[in-house]
Amino acid sequence: MTKWTLKVNHDLFGGLLLVGISAFAYYHGQQYAMGSLARMGPGFLPTLLSVVLGVMGAILTVASQWKPSSRVQIQLGQLLIVAGSLALFALLLRPAGLLVATFISVIVSSWADRQITWPGRLLLAGVVAGLASLIFIVGLGMNMPLWWG
């Protein structure tokens, strides 16, 4: 699995991330009317909250200078595989049905584990696809396609 090990200052990056989010929320929120304290418009609280978030982010960024950096591991491979398997499930559910979507998404998501073998992967995908169809469509009668169509 691809992994990045970095030595970073958490609070510096965390603080900058917060400032970024707050700036985005602030500028995007300017299109909504502010109103007054007695009659608040839709933009009042978003503006207020993004300013508060920005201030907190700024304090965190500045205070980070007195804090040491430490090692961080980003499990990039696992992140991409898990995200990909979920997106694939969403993509396949409508056209291909629950059975196929589950089978393929399990094949993909099981890739993230180091130990699993091909026969194990196929067996797991088959069992989970069968179980999901039984529980959600036969058992609970949920409204989703089982098969192509």
Partner: protein, 505 residues
Amino acid sequence: MDVIANLGIGLQAALTPTMLWYCFIGVLLGTFIGVLPGIGPLAAISLLLPITYYIGADVAIVMLAGVYYGAQYGGSTAAILLKLPGTASSAVACLDGNPMARNGRAGVALFITTIASFAGAITGLIILIFFSPYIAKLGLKFGSAEYFALMLLGLVAACTFSDSPLKGGAMVVLGLLLSMIGTDVNTGVIRYTFGFAELSSGLSLVALAMGIFGVADIIRNINTIDTTQLSQRFTLRSMLPSREEWRRSLPSMARGSAIGSFFGTLPGTGASISSFMSYATEKKLSKQPERFGRGAIEGVAAPEAANNASAQTAFVPTLTLGIPGDITMALILGALIIHGITPGPQLITAQPELFWGLIVSFIIGNILLVLFNIPMIGLWVSMLKIPYRLLYPTILVFISVGVFSVSNSTFDIYTVVAIGVLGYLLGTLRFDPAPLLLGFILGPLMEEHFRRAMLLSRGNLNTFIDRPISFSILIITALALGFIMASSVRRRLKANKADKASHAN
């Protein structure tokens, strides 16, 4: 006596076959989820939330609540045997539970956690039974100003106990901001949807919870959770504590129950905080604090009693005021609202069968849990042996289906992906995501009450100070904030001193 009459109503409601069945299913699932490391009650409840659309409101709540307090029992099993907490609140059980297991006292540790859990839960239940009617009566006097002040207290309390109060506070504000997405109820203006029609009713709570707690945790846990080192069998005899162990653990259970009951009733603070606080208290009170961390039975008994007590008393603010006691409660509150029940001061008088039936189901559920956890412990230990590589792909599929079924839209699955990546990033930068969810859930309620309070007072902020109940709540909030600042300054000073000392050497 009122209490007996009330419990009579509850018994009638709870002793029907369907209620008993869902109570059984709930606590069984809860124990299962609690035992397994890598999936907690929060993810389990958000998974079950869509399924509850297919059953009645009362049984749905009985089941979801069962998952919640059942998980508090199961959570310590993996903590003791593998040093892997099954739930966040059982992380403390690793500290002394795992050394006990290495000293050959694993059976005793498991037995004591079950007894402590039961003692804590019953204490919490007694508080719930006796105090709820009074809190509800007080709640009838609450206006928007009081509700706003109380929720503010909850949010402040939630970050007070975070590792870094500033980072916890930032997560609360981010959660509040995320709750702004969607249609503004007062003006009908659609905010922050970026052209996605699916977002006009707001970001899906289930998608947010599953992304931040389900998906982000799974990404982190793959290839790290290892349960293969397990090879223990338990006989009932090996589980019985000695007289000395009883003598040590009983007072700890009592203290833990009291601490847990208190933190449970406060909005915003829940099981994790209670167990940490009670562990710290035991260590401080002990004549031999050096035994802690090496298998002190008090360090297992007290936090387990505390987290179960708080799991029960967390229902006090949730059911009587409609303000969630902690994040899991917030999801249960969401479930109640989806089913058309608005918890609040009127709930006890308007729907006594629901309220008291739920409480009686808690009593039944806790008795079931003792049976599950002592004679059947071997079953759970063997469940622990299921490798994580088989579990996580299954959980991912369940998450996708669960999220999809809330509104039959694949858009919500993509939301889970985005939130999951964000959650992973925030976790990597050492932000605690729990306050974010609390902010997200309280956001719309706070906005509504704040605006109403301002509308009624014509924009005069003094309304929060002029009303005595609201004023006292704000004073408590200010004290809590003061406490945060003082303790973080003290910690900084201590760290500096330690730094200087290490440089001097």
